[in-house]
């Protein structure tokens, strides 16, 4: 690093992170915030499991249970899984395509702060009138008649956070289309970049449906609209449609980047090119396409009729085909490879059978006739935890561990990582495998208590014990993070002997990423240079000035304004003043952004030449 980077004080570091537009730092912000909410959601999960450890338990009250259950789902999906995916996308995608930054650095920062304030807003509800209690799906009319302001916090908090996600999605689409280095054609893009691209497209076309649904919910609750009130001609099923038109693509938004992580990890540690690269790309696109036409499989029991149910059942089962293609491609990549059992690889190997079980129960649930039996039982709970924890969470942890050296320049302790994996993996199966049987025995989901001597006692106990294993594993991971960062042992740019472009530059990369734009000669560009060249990426341009964007505090202010305005809209009366102040802050920030030219700055060639031995492009 250059002499210009000094050891900064706490205040300067804080200000840097509040104003940063650097995708690597925004990635770290997403990681920290996402992990915070992941722990919060995990604590909520522990409360649920402790409540269900024995029959007729009164560990927490029924109302509090509803709130904890709702917030567990909402937090894990919107405030933990989504930002952790954005953390990896921010940290990795620009590096994988040889870009110096994302297409819209300012918007990238705005996306983070909107997500963050939305998440804070949701959790403020704990301290003001109580948290949302209508389930993470907030089905009407329950969500309309829910008392207090809990569901208002849900609607407005997710609205703010959803704006941020939408902006992040557009940013990554344009980044990947416009900012690829010379030679980085679409069919040479690493699979993680491909899945980030497709997930961003899904975000773009799925989130507006949620935006509308949340607006309608807000208008019904706060302004007397009648969308979901049957006595005034409203229709509660509209909410279910809008929610799932968003909600089903959402699960592919979550899982596709996890598939992408495994498609990076498996070739690296099997020391083989990814088997069936083009079929992987095709399967990703096909899953995304089909993902938009299966939403009604969440609504089989609503009564849409046999024709609608059949069409959605067939479309649902069709998704098993491209997903199966992916599973076999990973297996064939492993086949005959020289496998290194590093911790990301162990996560990948644990993922394959776990996710396959989740996919299998998915096909069972996709069978419309059988779904009447499984619907709203613990079988569904088991299914979606197998795909979301067994798929998304294992993928996220594999990705976080795999790219940790690239993000922080240090290496997490491998031994602790393995311990973490086994505690978490065994705990996961203990918790959720038995829930399949609880569901088939008739235990409904979301219930506060169950009665004794109905054959449910033992499996619920097992399930709770499993949850403690998962908690222990997560604590071990956090311990690992603290110890690793405290020691701060620096590693090289390519500690895993990997294949893609991000490993060709130092860890952590300089703020401009690539001193010279890299020239990409094929799929797995670094591996090509290792096997056919001198192991160094060739530059595609002579050394020149680098244009960089300016930091800005405006995104923080814009998001803060909406956060404040949300309370005014919610509490109304004399609180309307908050809405006026909040919207004025946001609008004023937008005008400031519009009126002040922001041309960025240049890193001069001479300064770059002074930096020796940072390893970028040799």
């Amino acid at each position: 690093m250059s002499a210009t980077v000094k050891k900064a004080g706490f205040g300067a570091t804080l200000w840097e992170y509040l104003t940063t537009v650097d995708h690597k730092k925004i990635g770290i912000l997403y990681l920290v915030a996402g992990m915070f909410f992941f722990i919060l959601g995990g604590l909520e999960a522990m409360l649920i499991r402790i409540q269900l450890i024995k029959p007729d338990n009164d560990f927490i009250s029924a109302q509090f249970y509803n709130e904890v259950l709702t917030m567990h789902g909402t937090t894990m999906i919107f405030l933990a899984a989504m930002p952790l995916i954005f953390a990896l996308m921010n940290a990795v995608v620009p590096l994988q395509i040889g870009a110096r930054d994302v297409a819209f650095p300012f918007v990238n920062s705005l996306g983070f702060w909107l997500f963050f304030f939305g998440g804070v807003m949701l959790n403020v509800s704990w301290f003001v009138t109580g948290a949302p209690d209508a389930g993470w799906t907030a089905y009407a009319p329950l969500s309309i008649f829910s008392e207090g302001h809990g569901v208002d916090f849900y609607a407005i908090g997710l609205q703010i956070s959803g704006f941020g996600t939408l902006m992040g999605g557009i940013n990554f689409i344009v980044t990947i289309v416009n900012m690829r280095a010379p030679g980085m054609t679409y069919m040479r893009m690493p699979l993680f970049t491909w899945t980030a691209f497709i997930a961003s497209v899904l975000i773009l076309f799925a989130f507006p449906a949620l935006t509308v649904g949340l607006f309608l919910l807000t208008f019904d609750r706060l302004f007397g609209a009648n969308f979901f009130d049957p006595s005034m001609g409203g229709n509660v099923i509209i909410w279910e449609h809008l929610f799932w038109i968003f909600g089903h693509p959402e699960v592919y938004i979550l899982i596709l980047p996890a598939f992408g992580v495994f498609s990076e990890v498996v070739p690296t540690f099997a020391k083989k090119r990814l088997f069936g690269y083009s079929s992987m790309v095709f399967a990703t696109v096909l899953i995304a396409f089909l993902g938009f036409m299966v939403w009604a499989h969440h609504m089989f029991t609503v009564g849409l009729g046999p024709i609608a149910n059949s069409i959605f059942a067939v479309a649902t089962m069709a998704i098993a085909v491209p997903t199966g293609i992916k599973i076999f491609n990973w297996l064939f990549t492993l086949w005959g490879g020289s496998i290194r059992l590093t911790s990301p690889m162990v996560f990948a190997l644990g993922f394959i059978p776990t996710f396959t079980i989740g996919g299998m129960t998915g096909v069972m649930l996709g069978s419309a006739a059988a779904d009447f039996q499984y619907h709203d039982s613990y079988f569904v709970v088991a299914h979606f935890h197998y795909v979301i924890v067994g798929g998304v969470v294992l993928g996220l942890f594999a990705g976080i561990i795999y790219w940790w050296p690239k993000m922080f320049g240090t290496m997490l302790n491998e031994k602790l990582n393995h311990w973490f994996f086994w505690l978490f993996f065994i705990g996961f199966h203990l918790t959720f495998f038995v829930q399949h049987f609880l569901g088939l025995m008739g235990m409904p989901r979301r219930y506060w208590i169950f009665l004794e001597d109905q054959g449910l006692d033992f499996f619920n106990l097992i399930s709770t014990i499993g949850a403690f294993f998962m908690a222990a594993g997560t604590i071990l991971f956090l311990y690992n993070v603290v110890v690793t960062q405290a020691k701060g042992v620096k590693v090289s740019g390519d500690p895993w002997d990997a294949r893609t472009l991000e490993w060709a530059i130092p860890s952590p990369p300089p703020f401009y990423n690539f001193k010279q734009e890299p020239l990409v000669r094929g799929l797995d560009p670094l591996w090509i240079e290792k096997t056919e060249g001198d192991g160094k990426i060739k530059p595609a341009e002579p050394l020149g000035d680098i244009h960089m964007p300016n930091n800005s505090f405006v995104p923080f202010m814009m998001s803060l304004g909406l956060f404040i305005a949300g309370f005014g809209v919610m509490f109304q009366g004399s609180y309307w003043i908050l809405a006026v102040i909040g919207f004025a802050i946001t609008a004023g920030s937008m005008l400031y952004r519009s009126f002040k030219d922001d041309l960025g700055y240049h890193v001069h060639k001479e300064d770059l030449e002074d930096e020796k031995g940072d390893g970028s492009n040799g």
Binding site: A103, F104, V107, L166, I170, N171, I173, V174, V177, N178, M179, L204, F205, A206, F207, P208, A209, T211, V212, G213, F215, L216, F219, D220, F223, G224, A225, N226, F227, D229, M232, G233, G234, N235, I238, H241, L242, I245, D545, H547, L591, S594, F595, D597, L599, G600, H602
Partner: protein
Amino acid sequence: MADDMLKSTNLPQNPERATLEGRNKFMGFWFFLGGETVLFASLFGTYLALKNSTVDGPAANEIFGLELVFLMTIILLTSSLTSVYAMYHMKNNDPKKMQLWLGITVALGLAFLGLEIYEFYHYVHGYHFGYTTSAFSSAFYTLVGFHGAHVAFGLGWIISLMVRNAKRGINLYNAPKFYIASLYWHFIDVVWVFIFTVVYLMGKVG
């Protein structure tokens, strides 16, 4: 470099797409409009599901008057044309004429918005057709109101661009900004065409 961005001479053929920043904005905004399309599609779907849920309130064919809405349609379509003229002059590096046509666009937009406010006022006071009257009224005001809010936002956007750049020419920095504002203006025009058809025409005869 920074000076080049703000220089108003020797502009290329398409100044809005001449820089990487410009191309990014251009493409990003098209994708944003894709998302907006889903947003309005969801609102249209909701409206279609509830358009006959009038309960005790008035129905569509009792309140809509096509004369006013036809006038609004003509005004908004014309404003789309005038924004094209503004972009034509932008590409010819003629900032005065661009500002003039943008001004006409804004005037037409304000006229449209004024008529829409009058229309809503008329429904509320003439027909007791308020936001909370029925599911139909909620869906109507939400769909048409979302469009109206987009028009209002677009007006604020174009006006602030005009004010900010009143004393300087067209350059590679502000050309993409003008261009995407005009794209946005076309988009809300297209949405109105659908509202005119689905809400008003189908409301009268459907």
